[in-house]
């Protein structure tokens, strides 16, 4: 059940100075479906891939609006994201009610980082099992932050979290200088291009599985879900990953990274098993180190 004697709880350091329970929590993010965020000088965009448990099931919500000037995309345990997003809503409302001003993105991100850190320091608590991308606009312009359950928060020009997110990250690394100066439509297109590279081999972007959110300087946070996404997919054109296109149309070969091929092999194991929800001990207990029996992440 446990890999070693230093991963029973989040208050034990390993001899190497690591906290394994926090690292297992980071694994929960990697099990979740991908979410991508990116910023230009005028806008911040979130795009995410929604997952349904089975053919007849609905797709789990991936993007949550917090206030009129910012929102989040999640990867990992959705209930933990609900807790954090509720808290962020309270912080944002408190700022408006008490000071009559919208809260700065950094301040709200710091506040959830503090909550996450406390959970790694007290016995009987567990780390949050969710990673967030927080995108918003404040006095200093558009911002994108990544939140991790370790309590770490970093600001990015472009970021991706969740399953196969490395492919999206590679796209963003290659193109970030270009999307810095583009308009809203182009920025969303870049986001979708990054997201579609993180698709599984047999999947493509559809209006059912894609979520888009955008917020700009002087523009409120807007979430596009369901039918309203089709407009953006039409602008995108190609909805398959570049990897799959390369295989299906060998004439127009695109460079595929080595790590994307290795990820494809591990993907089958994570998605196959639906039995045995969480590890022993329930939600308050330690996380399953192997993570193989968990299919509760989004």
């Amino acid at each position: 059940m446990f890999r070693n004697s230093y991963d029973n709880d989040s208050v034990t350091f390993s001899p190497q100075g690591r906290i394994f329970q926090v690292e297992y929590a980071l694994e929960a993010i990697k099990q979740g479906s991908a979410a991508v965020g990116l910023v230009s000088k005028t806008h911040a965009v979130l795009v995410a891939l929604k997952r349904n448990a089975e053919e007849l099931g609905s797709y789990q919500k991936k993007i949550i609006g917090i206030d009129s000037h910012f929102g989040i995309a999640l990867a990992g345990l959705a209930p933990d994201a609900r807790v954090l997003s509720n808290f962020m809503r309270q912080q944002a409302m408190s700022s408006r009610l008490l000071y009559n001003r919208p809260i700065a993105i950094k301040r709200v991100v710091d506040s959830i980082a503090e909550k996450a850190q406390v959970n790694t320091q007290h016995y009987g608590r567990r780390p949050y099992g969710v990673g967030l991308l927080v995108a918003g606009v404040d006095k200093a312009g558009p911002h994108l932050w990544e939140f991790q359950p370790s309590g770490m928060v970093l600001e990015y020009k472009g970021a991706a979290i969740g399953a196969r997110s490395q492919s999206a990250r590679t796209y963003l690394e290659r193109n970030f200088e270009e999307f810095e100066n583009v308009d809203k439509d182009e920025l969303i297109k870049h986001g979708l291009q990054a997201l579609r590279d993180s698709l599984a081999q047999d999947k493509e972007l559809t209006s059912a599985n894609t979520s888009i959110a955008v917020v700009g300087v002087g523009e409120d946070f807007v979430l596009y879900d369901g039918d309203s996404v089709q407009v953006w997919l039409d602008k995108l054109g190609e909805t398959r990953s570049s990897r799959r296109r390369a295989e299906e149309e060998p004439a127009t070969t695109e460079a595929t990274t080595t790590e994307t091929t290795t990820e494809t092999t591990t993907e089958g194991a994570a998605g196959s098993s639906t039995e045995g929800q969480t590890g022993p001990g329930g939600p308050a207990g330690p996380l399953d180190p192997a993570g193989e029996n968990m299919d509760t992440t989004e």
Binding site: L98, Y99, N100, R101, P102, A104, D138, A140, H143
Partner: protein, 265 residues
Amino acid sequence: MNHFPEGWGRPRDDVYGAYDGSHLKTVQPGAGFNQHTQSPIVTGTSVIAVKYKDGVVIAADTLASYGSLARFRDVERLKVVGEKTVVGAGGDMSDMQYIFDDVLERLMIKESYSPESHSPLLAPHVYTYLSRLLYARRSRLNPLWNALLVAGHDEHDKPFLASVDLLGTTFDGPALATGFGAHLALPLLRKLVPNEEASQNVTKEQATEAVKAAMKVLFYRDARSIDEYSIAWVTPQGVEQSREKLENQSWKFAERIRGYGTQTN
């Protein structure tokens, strides 16, 4: 008639002994139960302010009265909050000191730790915060016994002037005054700025002149005022403050007044 409410509806002390309030944590010696502020003790009188085209001018005298006794003659009733806001307070001076030295200082310290990306603490933010505080306190039946004016400008550099009092009542206007000033100074100030549009054509000199004239009228007719006052000008560039002494008063006519009717000399 027993004038002490804590004695009402309870067994008589002379028959049954004094009420034992030792089980009450908040009990104060001699009170029998916790008492909130029911009336102010040391008080400051009016605060007056006018908007002009670049900013706001605000003034308050330096007297803190103890009933009809002019007890403390050098009390500053204007407070600069941050760099671009001035709060003026009338009413209870201990509550004013709590707001100025405790609440607003804490707010400024907290603000100094906030990220660059936060919009700076401006008059509307300070005002909203104070209005929430005063309304929360009166809702607990424990009011801060003050009338406050907040002067500054908003994020578009437009002059801001608004009022909040011990009941949490809020309103704004091109010219405002608290206490006696609302009756004596405001009618004079409104000759200069009858509405918001008018305030946009008023110069700093015109506004200052009107405020100084109003302070003089208040000294003539408000028995809780003094002839020394603080005045401050708030613009997007910052705050300018000075201390003034009333001059060119008109008392010469008094020597011709004799008796109360028929007396000739």
